[in-house]
Amino acid sequence: MSFEKEGFVPNPILAGLIGICPLVVAAKSFAEGAAYGLGATLCALLLGLLIPPARDFLPDRLQAPASLAISAALALIYALCLGMYSPALAAGLGIYLPLLAVSGLSLVALRLSSFPSRSGPDGQSRLAVIAMQSAWFLVTSACVGAAREILGLGMLTIPTPGASLSRIAVADFSPLRILVSPAGGFILLGFLVALYRVTLRASGRKGL
């Protein structure tokens, strides 16, 4: 892993393709992308805090089911809180909210498996690396949602509390309506992944 040598944390979505299905299907606006990214970030950070101490006293055979149970509980708690904050946002993300358990667990498992000790060779703690990776996830999902919404519908949805979400009209026309559909989400993500890999290659770094 390149981050172990040079402190570089690759983008988990663009380099590792983690959590892309909910991202291209459900996160079709800035509000949904930010809400999904925030959920994955909070789940990953809490899992990063809870799983390493649990590993110290849990036997190997119980570590995987316990991690899964904690991850699923955190995803459910986030989904319930989001439903209380904004029912429209929770309804928009729908069945993809429970999938946060998988995204959060993937972000943590990826780091724990490549980072067996409490801190890496460059002195970064495991939690700091998980936090950086989660921040990448949050920023990327919010940006992908915003790009799809602005280019697809010419508007930007703000995640405000209450019955309906606030929307700002950015343009009078919808230049690329297809971007709001799942197919358009995959196309946009494909371009972003290509751009990210070209940038990484140019700077001599490797992804995941």
Partner: protein, 150 residues
């Protein structure tokens, strides 16, 4: 050998107890969330259809709607529900008003993403392919709620 088995049993029970505590926490939050959602949905329907004090009539296990409310206005007893619709690149939260016989009396768009919608049934059906089926299921649930309320 016996001591090993006892140790494994104690470990398993300890983990099961910890997961049980987690489940209780989620259940408690779910209870609070459900109570809040009931109040919120009732207030959306009351505001949308000018009905005072909506009462929860039935809780439903449907992916598109969860609660049926009894609403009273000038035209007598009516039933309402907040329905979630999803289509290709569009989603909407819609308040639906029904007669006790399950006839649709009105639709009110609470929030919509994609296109601006007026609340016309034909427009909703053209935007959301499953809207007709969802509204039919809501009508069935309302007939059940009305039968139970009699």
């Amino acid at each position: 050998m016996m001591a090993d088995k006892r140790e494994i049993l104690v470990e398993n029970l300890a983990v099961a107890a910890a997961i049980g505590v987690l489940v209780l926490l989620v259940a408690a939050l779910s209870f609070v969330s459900n109570a809040r959602a009931t109040t919120q949905e009732g207030s959306y329907l009351a505001a949308a259809f000018s009905c005072a004090s909506p009462q929860l009539a039935l809780e439903v296990d449907d992916p598109a709607f969860e609660r049926i409310f009894l609403l009273c206005n000038d035209s007598g007893n009516l039933y309402g529900s907040v329905v979630s619709l999803r289509g290709r690149g569009a989603s909407a939260l819609v308040g639906a008003l029904y007669s006790p016989q399950g006839d649709l009396r009105g639709l009110h768009i609470i929030d919509s993403f994609g296109d601006s919608l007026s609340g016309d049934e034909r427009e909703l059906v053209s935007h959301f392919p499953d809207a007709e089926r969802v509204l039919d299921r809501a009508a069935d649930s309302i007939r059940n709620a009305a039968r139970k309320g009699e």
